[in-house]
Symmetry: C2
Subunit: 208 residues, 2 copies
């Protein structure tokens, strides 16, 4: 089945399905959307739709082969070809992200980190931390396509420009500022505070 773009919410559930399927006994032949839904406490219609989107319809009354569904999920999530990413800014947040082991479950592998502070250069959590001067050559040599910005707001645009120059096609920005990128480069700003604000907003307006 061809890959298609799925909604973010669906994408978020795929690693759950994969984790569940991998946890099944090795001799499990078939799984149904019903059993997956039940095990994960999700709606059956929802699971059926999600699995249909990435693996087509299961066989009536039987469902999917466990092996086939795992392969579809892995392929869809890009496990057979994880996108190489770099991170610039190895402060607390940067290092916390380097330690975060969920990214590989979503088809992305952080292959190196960079910092302008020489005290931070050296082995980091999981990857090597290089001087930021090496960013461009590293990205070009390693075909890096995703850049994660965890520097402060004052140097974020400069880092962003360097990433674009290095051939990076998608930027995930944690710096608390808006960035400008040329057309064709994807940019996603992560505003952590926003989730908290939304939770607070719901908490303070319980009637709605």
């Amino acid at each position: 089945m061809e890959k298609s773009v799925v909604p973010k919410a669906t994408l978020g559930r795929l690693p759950l399905y994969l984790r569940y399927l991998r946890s099944l006994p090795e001799d499990t032949k078939y799984v149904s959307a019903t059993s997956v839904a039940k095990a994960l406490d999700l709606g059956e219609v929802l699971v059926r739709k999600d699995l249909g989107a990435i693996s087509g319809q299961g066989r009536p009354k039987v469902g999917y082969t466990a092996e086939g569904l795992i392969a579809s999920l892995e392929h869809f999530l890009g496990f057979d070809n994880r996108t190489p990413a770099v991170l610039v800014g190895a402060g607390r947040l940067g290092r916390a992200l380097l330690e975060y082991d969920e990214f590989e479950d979503y088809g992305v592998r952080i292959v190196a980190a960079f910092d302008c502070d020489e005290r931070r250069i050296g082995p980091g959590p999981g990857v090597e931390i290089y001087p930021v001067e090496r960013l461009e050559s590293f990205c070009k040599e390693n075909g890096v396509r995703i850049g994660i910005i965890t520097v402060g707001a004052s140097s974020a645009q400069q880092v962003c420009d360097q990433m674009v120059k290095s051939g990076i096609g998608a930027i995930w920005n944690f710096a608390p500022c808006a960035l400008r990128v040329p057309k064709g480069v994807l940019l996603k700003r992560e505003t952590l505070a926003l989730s908290l604000a939304h939770l607070n907003h719901q908490l303070c307006n319980p009637s709605l």
Copy 2:
């Protein structure tokens, strides 16, 4: 104007508006949605709708008084009464969040952090880090309403239960696992990897 629940995207723009309005010369009397939209490179219809939702309609041809609009935004974002929050798990991610100074812009104040590792107890970034045994009494004494979980998956449910017992009404979970809370307690799971996955998905499917 009464507070109402606004979409998350609107909520995310409010601090931008506030920052812009505060940056204006002190003798600025009036601002219009048009000028705000232009300054922030946003659509005029969008800005008009956002401002209308939190501060009613501006006066025709004049717009809003700068002072009044700032007051509306601050009130809406809860600046006059920030919700007290605590964080449990003062590892790298926890400390990165404590350092993150955007939360106050969204009406939440982290007032203390807790950890079970005694080497982490003491002054932390911005707040004191206490032994986790003190969580319940601290929350009750200080009317804490939001709990942030930045411990590992293995102890997250236990921390969550303690938070609920401490009277916390909303939980923001960074641990990579699903949590169960009683009815009436808000729960938001933060899956950082998901944003990255979505970006990667778009990058790998440029035609869609």
